[in-house]
Symmetry: C2
Subunit: 360 residues, 2 copies
């Protein structure tokens, strides 16, 4: 039976979008393809208000590939990795596993990483790159990337700021030039509300120039190759997932219609309702003021059985998520992102209330 996904990705995808995958295929070295792909890039530029100093691209991969892209194409020698959850930690480990030096700025899970803590670390002058996760899917924490971006740009203009916004982009406000970051990326199965299989990345010209100087970038992780190929041919250097590009094209039309601000407000409304519900019965895992607008991580203070809940929810065609890794059963997570709206979230929480007897 179909379960409507309130997990933090893959999120629910409508039948309309799913069917966009069923176009007959076209060659990826044809004018028809260039037209499709150029259209998508232009819609991304428009929706994310990219100035000329940024480039947009789409890779056929999980979002994870971008950890490697940053490790292979951006970090020259040493990166400062801000870590306050499973995904930001994995970002740093990947850079290490690319043979680069890493220093971790570790903050307790559930807490946000603040601009001044980063500034203190950067003052040593030993870092050429800093990485941070916009929206920690494992803890429901939203790091203050706009403040961080402002500080880094003003005080350390040569340090590349690379942001994992895998579960933030689109649902949360994500304007690369306002953040003033160098790299920011996301994958399609989160707030883009598409199936998994593509990642979207925005790259500053400065980051592209940096990449040209970094040796041993490989091929699939070579940012220069990816961006230059588009400039030259308006295509992707490697055969892309064409069906998902049709869905992305359609999604960008829908997003542009709703507007960046409209989409954000819809997500904010869902987040605030979910947070209020969580605070009424449980406690929020995220530090106050730094709650994610796309996924709420709830501290399971009533010691409810999340696994059992999901079994009962399944019969009502819903599915939420247990806590991530070591946080399973101690927390649970509700992803309110993508195509969901407030009415849908209210319905889901109503069912949870009923199953867990929280109604009185």
């Amino acid at each position: 039976m179909h379960k409507r996904l309130l997990i933090p990705g893959p999120t629910e995808v409508s039948a309309d979008i799913l069917l966009e995958q069923a176009h007959f295929l076209i060659g990826h070295r044809t004018g028809e393809f260039s037209e499709l792909y150029t259209g998508i890039i232009e819609k991304l530029i428009s929706y994310f208000e990219l100035p000329n100093s940024y480039k947009a691209t789409v890779t056929t991969s999980s979002g994870t590939l971008w950890f490697d892209i940053v490790g292979r194409s951006i970090v020259k020698k040493k990166a400062l990795v801000c870590s306050n959850g499973a995904f930001s930690e994995r970002f740093g480990k990947t850079i290490q596993d690319c043979g680069k030096e890493v220093d971790f700025l570790k903050v307790e899970w559930g807490k946000a990483i603040k601009s001044d803590a980063i500034a203190e670390k950067l003052s040593s002058g030993e870092f050429d790159t800093i990485t941070i996760c916009h929206n920690e899917t494992s803890t429901g924490v939203r790091n203050p990337i706009y403040e961080i971006g402002r500080m880094v740009r003003q005080e350390y203009p040569d340090v590349m700021l690379a942001i994992d916004s895998i579960s933030g982009m689109v649902g949360d406000k994500t304007l690369p030039s306002e953040i003033d970051c160098d790299i920011i990326f996301a994958s399609t199965q989160k707030c883009f509300a598409l199936p998994p299989g593509l990642a979207v990345g925005f790259v500053s010209d400065k980051a592209l120039e940096r990449a040209r100087d970094v040796p041993n970038r490989g091929l699939y992780t070579n940012l220069v190759r990816i961006l230059d190929y588009y400039e030259r041919k308006h295509q992707t250097p490697f055969t892309p997932n064409i069906p998902l590009l049709y869905t992305l094209d359609k999604r960008m039309d829908l997003l542009l219609e709703e507007t960046h601000e409209g989409v954000y407000q819809r997500h904010k409304a869902m987040a605030e309702y979910t947070q209020k519900w969580a605070k009424k019965h449980f406690r929020l895992f995220a530090e106050p003021g730094y709650e994610s607008v796309t996924v709420t991580c709830v501290e399971n203070t009533l010691a409810k059985n999340v696994k059992e809940l999901n079994k009962e929810l399944a019969e009502r065609q819903f599915m939420i998520s247990n806590g991530y890794g070591k946080l399973a059963e101690k927390t649970f997570r509700i992803g309110h992102m993508g195509e969901w709206d407030l009415a849908g979230i209210k319905e889901a929480l109503w069912h949870i209330d009923e199953i867990w007897g929280l109604t009185k």
Copy 2:
């Protein structure tokens, strides 16, 4: 208008398969997903007759990712790269771009690479890996990988043999343990007749052991992570393209029904018919005896205009391919792979005959 693709990838995909993408999504950390993915792995093991000493895996990527996987996870110090076309050359360049040493064994485009030429090179003892392309999509040449495999295993058992079979696997006979190779990979938009977006790889236990010893493997290119994750959890380490996994599951059922031998014979019949047609009017680009069974590269001895041909073919809902890169107009290519059968190939060639006036 829908053009039926006789290009060497993406190839034609039936409506039935395209619609398999439209399943509602499931979480990739669920039992339901593990069941789907385990089923696919088991079907791959069965179809490709993999003994216990091999592992099968599926990555969410173009086939190109596997150039990087070999460069990052397999080559320790120096690779011998057999190059007789655009793709085998790119394989070697990627390994160089991963910071490893490479020596090219270059053979004229159109010619095959023979076992004794490789043996001579390997005798220097300086190589830990050898790479070769099974089926050069740019030239329509099929390299004798079974002979090469036998030689490498007998004389250089510690040298890893990595084979790009992107456009060969499934259409051509591709039994990893009979070839006795360590790594062989393909992508879904060729003979698997699926949309692009996934790659399939088979890896020997020996290659996995080698990978454990190679430093700086990254994350998305880390073969150890990919294979160990499946052993532990029967899932993929990174969010996979779930819609395409549904199509691959369906495809494996169809292939198993037709049998490895049956699929090969169907491709052989298409290749032989196309080769006969090409020799009647033109010349084959491939060295005699080494013609690909999945793509025929035709030397354009009549100086026909391929671009114009494709315009006229489009009206008849067909599309073939121009020559690759520097071979454009000098050659053209007909991909006869995937779901095509002899009747379809005959129909396409009949149209080409009529358009080019080759009928008399």
